[in-house]
């Protein structure tokens, strides 16, 4: 595929150490569009080897507002379903620019390894220096070893290494969107982490028209969506209960995922003055909040915002799904931060999650209409749009996104195909 693509699929066999590459066939894009459409197809092709498939949308990494999303597709150990989890912050686009559109990771290594993806190359490296380290220390180690602080890391902590069913794949130091036990799959494969650096280039079929349309779309979105900033305003916009009064005093700054107009994340300072502008002298002054749901539950449990955020940081270091921890703590009536922290190794049963079909419940906030929520998630996961932002921006219509995808790729990507791919991905 010539445009908005690196034209490459990698197939990584952790069992043998073999890595092969294929071109991304335009016929596959015409039939399955991209993102979850193609990762689902690749999953079925390698189903017998228990693959995890990384994938990008056609629009991922472009100037379309919200074009932040890459995804991982695998069979969730929690639900038993073929499922998809989001890769956001800057990790989604670093993968898009790494030289690959898709990557199949199959088999299991007989010793701990990590993958290093960069410049159209993927290496399988010995993970002896990072295995046993928490998520933060492992991220630091890889960045220091490679000499690049901008490397994006999809990694597991002790929970994943121990194959806890609640293990999650974190992004750098933070909770990612994996609420479906993909961290457990990393552990089963002896895969500690995936380091990604994207320094590639994506050609555009009709560059001037494409970029002009992006400017117009952003202008429309800015006028209609307004300035919803940070995790508390995003929660309110999606109909969740108000956590602003509780949390906002700790907020240092709001942070956006790549090219996402409304920042959906907030960085809180728990060990530093949140109003401080200069660089903190404290090595780890706080935590980036990326997931709304656990905050709501921990507030309901009676934790202070500071205790809740510190606990969430510890969840991320341990590599355990904070939403599940919050739910199970509420169910087990474990209400002090220390007791919750001590319970991490014992938490084995899956938490009760809403039925969000094949998509991670990460973007399930408030009480959305299930059918329209799933449709919107499907569009986001197929085309590469931030799943939370997509829920708040009705200007990103399916028609507009398909027009842009067609313009950027010079392929005729139609509504009929999108409907078919959504049916294929969701099984409906």
């Amino acid at each position: 595929m010539e445009y908005l693509s690196s034209d490459k699929i990698a197939i990584v066999d952790l069992a043998t150490g073999d890595i092969t590459e294929e071109e991304l066939d335009e016929d596959l894009v015409l039939e399955k569009l991209g993102g979850a459409g193609i990762t689902t197809s690749l999953y079925h092709r390698f189903e017998g080897e228990d693959p995890i498939v990384l994938g990008t949308g056609v629009l991922t990494g472009s100037l379309i507002p919200g074009a932040a999303l890459s995804i991982m597709t695998a069979k969730s150990p929690l639900t038993g379903k073929l499922s998809h989890v989001p890769i956001v912050l800057a990790a989604g686009i670093e993968f898009k620019y790494s030289g690959f559109d898709y990557m199949v990771i199959k088999g299991a290594s007989d010793k701990p390894v990590y993958l290093w993806i960069h410049d159209g190359i993927v290496d399988i490296n010995d993970a002896a220096d990072v295995w046993g380290k928490d998520v933060w220390a492992a991220t630091d180690t890889i960045r220091e070893f490679m000499g690049d602080d901008l490397i994006q890391v999809l990694g597991i902590g002790k929970a994943g290494e121990d194959q806890s069913p609640l293990a999650t794949v974190c992004v750098n130091y933070w909770q990612g969107g994996d609420r479906l036990g993909f961290g457990t799959l990393f552990g089963k494969k002896n895969l500690k982490l995936i380091g990604i650096r994207g320094m590639g280039l994506l050609e555009i079929a009709e560059p001037e028209e494409f970029v002009e349309d992006c400017i117009e779309l952003l202008s429309t979105i800015k006028a209609s969506v307004g300035e919803k900033k940070g995790i508390t305003q995003m929660a309110a916009a999606l109909g969740a209960e108000d956590i602003g009064e509780w949390l906002d005093p700790l907020v240092h700054r709001h942070m956006a995922c790549f090219n996402t107009p409304n920042p959906t994340n907030s960085f809180v300072f728990t060990d530093e003055d949140p109003a401080r502008l200069e660089e903190s002298d404290v090595a780890e002054p706080g935590f980036l909040l990326t997931d709304i749901y656990p905050l709501i539950v921990l507030k309901r449990l009676g934790l202070s915002a500071k205790d809740a955020c510190t606990l969430l940081k510890d969840c991320a270091k341990y590599g355990i799904d904070a939403a599940a921890v919050a739910d199970l703590s509420e169910k087990n009536r474990t209400t002090t931060p220390d007791d919750i922290r001590k319970s991490f190794p014992e938490l084995k049963e899956p938490a009760q999650q809403p039925d969000t079909g094949v998509f991670s419940p990460w973007a399930w906030v408030g009480k959305p209409d299930a059918q329209s929520w799933q449709r919107r998630q499907a569009v986001s996961y197929i085309l590469g749009i931030h799943p939370l932002f997509a829920l708040t921006s009705s200007d990103l219509t399916e028609e507009k996104l398909l027009d842009m995808a067609s313009l950027g790729t010079e392929l005729e990507l139609t509504q009929e195909t999108l409907n078919e791919v959504i049916a294929d991905v969701t099984g409906k």
Binding site: V211, L277, S280
Partner: protein, 117 residues
């Protein structure tokens, strides 16, 4: 006339960086941009924007602007930003002079952190 940046408003979305990269390469790429959010101090959430001008490197930090003349000796005690290292090798900001739309970083900043001075 030049570009003015409010480092405190920046949310680190990198839209300016990609827009500038497009201006340089007529494609989507990040390596040739003369404007980049510096995001190498992630754990501290210390974030601003670096802009390469013809004779200076502008760091729009949350606490204010810092302008370093290119070629002059820098404070050896100050830690360099990882994102800033390749900036000196890149072309300087030309305000997107060949583009009808004007400076694309301004057009694409969703939080109006970038404007014309």
């Amino acid at each position: 006339m030049g570009i003015k940046i409010d480092g405190l408003l920046c949310t680190g979305c990198m839209a300016c960086e990609l827009a500038c990269g497009y201006h340089r390469d007529d494609a989507f790429a990040l390596l040739s941009s003369c404007i980049v959010p510096y995001r190498g101090r992630e754990k501290k959430n210390y974030l601003g924007v670096i802009l390469k001008e013809e004779d200076s490197l502008v760091a729009a930090r949350p606490e204010g602007l810092e302008v370093n003349k290119i070629g002059e000796e820098q404070d050896p005690d100050k830690e360099a930003d990882a994102s800033a290292k390749p900036m000196l090798l890149r072309e300087s900001c030309d305000l997107c002079e060949d583009m009808d739309e004007g400076p694309l970083c301004i057009k694409f900043c969703p939080v109006n952190a970038i404007s014309m001075a």
